[in-house]
């Protein structure tokens, strides 16, 4: 919240759109602003009435550089928009930088996403430190329901819940890396870094970065689903393969490779396999192991075929691993299996688990 928890004293708030960006049809701008207001009215008693003349609580306009409030914009990119906390005069007013390109999709800055964030300010919300919250200050294109639990908690602390509340499915807050019960969805190397996927986010570990960096998957790869099941790197081909459901994507560095997604069955998996739990490339053998439930498969990267005689039992071939695997990485002859909140260091040579640690010890917790 802003200092003194600034808010509108009256739940019936008025708004007016003073001018329009030429980037979108007038009706598209109207719809984006209305949808953005509905995001907040769905979870509070607030109602928004549109005025076509005179002074409204929230005056909405598009302007570039110095646009009348001595708080100039900066041309393309950088600052996208700003808004003022509830109050008289300029209070609640919301300004969009006309030097940006405004769109209805992810091809440039999505007006709905930015408007929903700015109108949060106009209603009394300040910035959130939760990277998955709508009120996080950095732009990222997201689809689906925009509010996180953090956002809803914040706005309802000011105005209370919507008495006729619609069932909304808020986004869970960003996972806390030092939560002792933390489990991983997937893990892979990527050109010397380690990428760990959890929920809608991924952590990026770099040898020179003691602090893992948490980012929304979609802010880096908008076309990849919000949830990753497994991932592995084949350093010889400089490719990272990401699995989600029955589809897979390939990355070259951080760039998506054309021609994906493809079906995982192209690897030679039977149609009955609908999800891969974990995947890891074993540099010494040139094989990629794919774990599904209690079994695993061996894919020969050189021939592009699945080895014969699979699936085999994880428990039989990896003594000490008698449960499913969430994620796996391979370092210098050691396989690290992650399952729920524990990780198992498995020695390939001595064919046994030689150490057990907490899953998030890899995140310096």
């Amino acid at each position: 919240h802003f200092p003194r928890h600034l808010k509108w004293q009256n739940n019936n708030v008025t708004f007016r759109i003073l001018n329009y960006t030429p980037d979108l049809k007038k009706s598209d701008v109207d719809r984006a602003i209305r949808s953005a207001l509905n995001v907040w009215s769905d979870v509070t008693p607030l109602t928004f009435k549109k005025l076509h003349k005179g002074n409204a609580d929230i005056m909405i306009s598009f302007g570039s550089k110095e646009h009348g409030d001595y708080n100039p914009f900066d041309g393309p990119n950088g600052l996208l928009a700003h808004a003022y906390p509830p109050g008289q005069g300029i209070g609640g007013d919301t300004h969009f930088d006309e030097d940006e390109h405004w769109t209805k999709d992810s091809s440039a800055y999505n007006l709905f996403v930015v408007a929903a964030h700015e109108l949060g300010h106009a209603l009394g919300m300040s910035h959130s430190t939760d990277v998955g919250a709508l009120m996080y200050p950095i732009y990222s294109y997201t689809t689906g329901y925009p509010l996180s639990e953090d956002d809803i908690e914040g706005i309802q602390a000011l105005y209370g819940p919507n008495p006729n509340s619609k069932k909304v499915k808020p986004r869970p807050d960003a996972p806390n890396k030092c939560d002792p019960t933390l489990s991983f969805d997937a893990a892979t190397e990527l050109r010397g870094e380690t990428i760990i996927f959890k929920d809608r986010f991924y952590w990026r570990l770099h040898p020179q970065m003691p602090e893992p960096e948490q980012t929304l998957i979609k802010s880096t790869w908008p076309s990849i689903p919000n949830r990753v099941d497994a991932a592995y790197e084949n350093p010889e081909k400089d490719r990272v393969i990401i699995f989600s459901g029955i589809r897979m994507w390939a990355l070259n560095g951080y760039d998506l490779v054309d021609g994906y997604p493809k079906y995982i069955h192209k690897l030679g998996l039977p149609k009955t396999i609908r999800k891969i739990d974990a995947a890891v490339y074993i540099r010494d053998t040139g094989k990629t192991l794919l774990f599904t439930d209690e079994d695993y498969w061996s894919y020969d990267e050189a021939t592009g075929t699945m080895d014969k005689g699979y699936p085999r039992s994880i428990e039989d071939d990896f003594p000490g691993m008698d449960d499913e695997v969430d994620a796996a990485v391979y370092h210098y002859g050691y396989l690290y299996f992650f399952h729920e909140h524990m990780q198992y260091e498995y020695s390939y040579n001595s064919r046994k688990v030689i150490r057990i640690m907490r899953t998030n010890s890899i995140l310096n917790c």
Partner: protein
Amino acid sequence: LPVPSGDKDNRLLAEKYLRRFYGFPAGLQGKQQASGVFETKIKEMQKFFKLEVTGNLDDNTLELMKLARCGVPDIGEYN
């Protein structure tokens, strides 16, 4: 040694960012005081974005400063 121009640009970008979003005081102050305040504000920004809190203008911090974002300050005085 004279500061290489790239570093100087980054420093100016950082000062402008901190002035806009973290209340870094405008105008020149004593050299020592300026660097102390600069480091303090960098730490505030790193803490907010859950970066490693070093007080230094490292690559990650600079990279984040260049991302598209909202113009409302993150903390401090709301103008």
